[in-house]
Amino acid sequence: MHEDLTHVRHAGDPRTLRVEAALRDAALYEPVGEPPADMVQRARSRWARRGRPALAWVWRGATVTAVAGLCLALLRGGQGPQPTANVTDARRPDPPPAAVAPALAGAGGGEPMASPAGPSRPLPAVRLVAHRPAASKAPRRRVAERRGSRPPAPRGAAEQPARPQWVHETVQRPPSGVLAPVVILEQDPASGGAQARPGLLRILFASDEGTMDEPRLGFVDTMGEEEQK
């Protein structure tokens, strides 16, 4: 199986010989588990989805950090020329764009979503236009309290409701595998209109430091369909 590499290695060098022995032994490695039978099929469904225009609307129920992770994944995964997705804070969703409001209403828009359970449906490729609200004052307030100084006064008489914080630098990476309820808005290629359907995105993190500028993220829906990077 292996050719003689005596001319490659330094003949008689014991360290190199040991390394080569280790390499030959490592060739006998037996992986844990079997390759999934549908591995290629699922990869194929991923590549088939690339470039399909679609919309994703993250709605109530998802944690802020999950949305933050989803945003990163979408931002990194977005391809194609047209911005066709939007993500808002899960607790305080902004009004949906007028173009997609009717479709959202058809999907029960405005109400907290229950976790859907249903047959496997492909998750379209998505591109995100991240909604980045102004940074919240809450972190500064907490810092001020920790330091014992006076917290910043609210702007108005009544304290402003907490703004979405998912773009704040202190956002923590959600644990890998977290589920984020979403409404997926797909563009119907025939009519050009938007179709809404509920879904759950499972966010997988291949690697990241929990920061906004160095993500390598992936997310998967509960039915096993996946979009990554």
Partner: protein, 200 residues
């Protein structure tokens, strides 16, 4: 011979843009693919990496030249995916955590030697996966996948002498990465055992 001819036909169709043929080829070699990614990841993450490798291969299918073995080309891409995974901060964090969790506090009496041996093999494969690509690919394809120097040279589009030189360089690099074992352990199966037993 028959299988090889069928593979050739599939390769021709795949390079011509036939997605079905490409998927069929990937399916034929999914065992190899799995071994590559399972060297650095487990479970769903290995599955994720395998899919990532297939997608990368599909995107790069136009770069595949028919004169080199498709399996080698696919394994090279999978090794690149494994390399990226090994270099990631997420991987380092998880690996450190697992190492801390898995290491028994006391002597390794009664430990499953075969499991440790397999873990040692996995460590060597991870170290190879972490090498730069020009060093990683020849070592991986030659030692782990059984490809000849000439096949690897065709795949890389380089002279065989260059491939040999890179393998030599890669082994030197590995000897420093595996220094704890190369300098002390007399046999390949000892490193994992030693690592666990010396931990207090």
């Amino acid at each position: 011979m028959g299988a090889s001819t069928a593979d050739d036909r599939l390769e021709q169709r795949a390079t011509a843009g036939d997605a079905d043929a490409f998927a069929a080829l990937c399916d034929r070699h999914r065992g190899r693919l799995w071994r590559v990614v399972a060297s650095v990841a487990h479970g769903k993450e290995a599955d994720d990496l395998a899919q990532e490798a297939i997608i990368r291969a599909f995107r790069a299918r136009a770069q595949y030249r028919g004169d080199a073995p498709f399996a080698g080309w696919l394994c090279r891409i999978a090794a690149n995916v494994a390399h990226d995974y090994c270099r990631s901060a997420w991987y380092r964090r998880v690996t450190d955590w697992f190492a801390a969790e898995a290491a028994p506090p006391g002597p390794c009496l009664g430990a499953d030697e075969e499991a440790l041996r397999n873990e040692t093999r996995r460590r060597v494969r991870r170290e190879v996966a972490a090498l730069p690509e020009d060093l990683r690919t020849p070592l991986w394809l030659h030692y782990f996948e059984g490809f000849g120097i000439s096949e690897i040279a065709r795949l890389a589009g380089r002279p065989e002498s260059t491939i040999r030189s890179r393998m030599q360089c890669g082994m030197k690099r590995l000897s420093s990465r595996l220094a704890d074992w190369v300098d002390e352990a007399p046999r390949p199966g000892a490193v994992g055992n030693d690592a666990r037993c010396t931990r207090t």
